[in-house]
């Protein structure tokens, strides 16, 4: 199993062009990749016969807070033939939170990316249908940001917590 992990790391490093760092204390193990190479890394991970990550289980956004100034997107991949899980993380700045969409690689990315956009305001470039999904279309702000302040009213109706 650890051989397989090393092979995946080599593969990702080759596509990225430099050694990638591991996410500390992560289960399943994962790597941080630069956002420019995310799409190439993921298509390679899906199609390469040694890895074959055919399922994208989950995408989650993470806000590290205004002090740290970074947003993260974490992808959880799973390979059915190899029974192997992997996480891939990209780190974005809060000002320019945009990353390439993975819908051409995995169809499940469609709604999952919409949800991340809805909650964190992260833009997914080349997404076929990037609209809000859980919140109303005219909602103000992105609720899962750590510094989110909700409006007092929505369409004249008081928002109470």
């Amino acid at each position: 199993m650890s051989d397989h992990k090393e092979r995946i790391k080599e593969l990702i490093s080759r596509v990225v062009g430099e050694p990638v760092s591991e996410i500390p204390n992560s289960t399943p193990a994962g790597y941080v990749v630069p956002k420019e190479t995310l799409f190439r890394v993921c298509s390679e991970l899906r199609t390469h016969p040694d890895t074959y990550f055919d399922m994208l289980s989950n995408i989650s956004g993470v806000d590290r807070g205004p002090e740290a100034g970074t947003l993260e997107v974490v992808y959880h991949l799973y390979s059915i033939p190899f029974h192997f899980s992997l996480s891939i993380k990209v780190v974005l700045s809060r000002e320019q939170a945009a990353v390439e969409s993975l819908v051409p690689v995995w169809k499940s990315a469609n709604w999952l990316e919409r949800e991340v956009y809805d909650m964190f305001g992260i833009q997914f470039k080349n997404h076929p249908d990037l609209r809000r999904i859980l919140m109303p279309a005219d909602w103000n702000g992105f609720p899962l940001l750590k510094d989110y302040q909700q409006d007092e009213t929505y369409r004249g109706v008081k928002i109470e917590y």
């Binding site: 289960t27 399943p28 989950n58 989650s60 993470v62 109303p136 369409r155």
Partner: protein, 405 residues
Amino acid sequence: MNKEQQYIYKEDNLTDSEPNKFNYNELKSEEMIINLGPQHPSTHGVLRLEVLSDGEIIKDVVPHIGYLHRCFEKHAERLPYNQVIPFVDRMDYVAAMNSEHAYAMGVERMMGITDQIPKRVEYIRVLVAEMNRIASHLIAVGTYGLDLGAFTPFFWIMRDREHILRLLEWVSGARMLYNYIWIGGLFYDLPVGFEQRCREFINYFTPKVGELETLLVNNKIFIDRTANVGVLPLNLAINSGITGPMLRGSGLRFDLRRVDGYSVYPELEFEIPIGEGKMGTVGDCWDRTWVRVREIYESLRIMRQCLDKLEGEHKRTRDFDPQSVVPKKIRPKAQELYVRAENPKGELGFYFIADGKSDIPFRCKARACSFVNLSVLPELSRGVLIADLIAILGSIDIVLGEVDR
């Protein structure tokens, strides 16, 4: 009345909060937009479908969700780990035990106490989770029949589900939203005499599943409505992240209880039924329903084995404390963890980030199986009749509480 006026008339209030994706002015002359839901019994809750149709043929479907959004992830960032469990219950409210099991398992892994959980606790967890799985599958099959015009099976499944709910109420004190599985243990041990009653239920219920099969699943009208309808090919299913009975209906023997082997599932014997295309094509609506019915039998088998263990090896003792491993303070080390478990509807995942400094999760994301499974609906329903759209939607088996969280 001295009450503050809550709502004031404004022109702006009449605009759509959830606008259509398709524009009326840009339609071709034969196209029209039909709005299904959010208040419609066949949408199983509050789901709005915007259907672009050409006569009876569907050109595109756009699901609009979020009517039941209760901010689970935002709440979870404010509450200690153990207080999140009631919110987890309310996600998939017809299978709350399974969700609790997945959540508790995730936090236990972060705490590193998975090995210390007493075997009796694990067997009770699996027992109640399988009971809840049966209840969930009954709802899925029964309401699916209702969608297709079969009224009687619905009453039959409600009658049998009531026994499960009563048993679970006896265990936990609540009918649907239990808060029974705690991090590191259980709320209480099983009540005295439960095993006996549970066996009586199994003996009563096993022939009833056969009756349900004869009445609904093997019914000619039901087969005509579901066979060869909504065929989900395996490669599309995997690429769309579909899990659970839907994926198995498409012919892949993939069950996380077996693949990941969590809890005590490796010690139990059960089969994993898959769709075989008996009445039509592999992966059609009939296959998905059939897989659910077969899984009820397998769950009953697991329940019997659990009861044997609970009355044999891991018998009730006077000094058994189901809360012996429950941590006094839940403060995991700084880490990230993705945990997944097989829910009745598919893979339920939780992604935790703990910062190591506080008792509340820094981030708790739920990967809801109904949400991902529903996203394949537009792909499945292009080019089918409107009546078949209802058949396809019912066969996906969604719970809107989990779609919207």
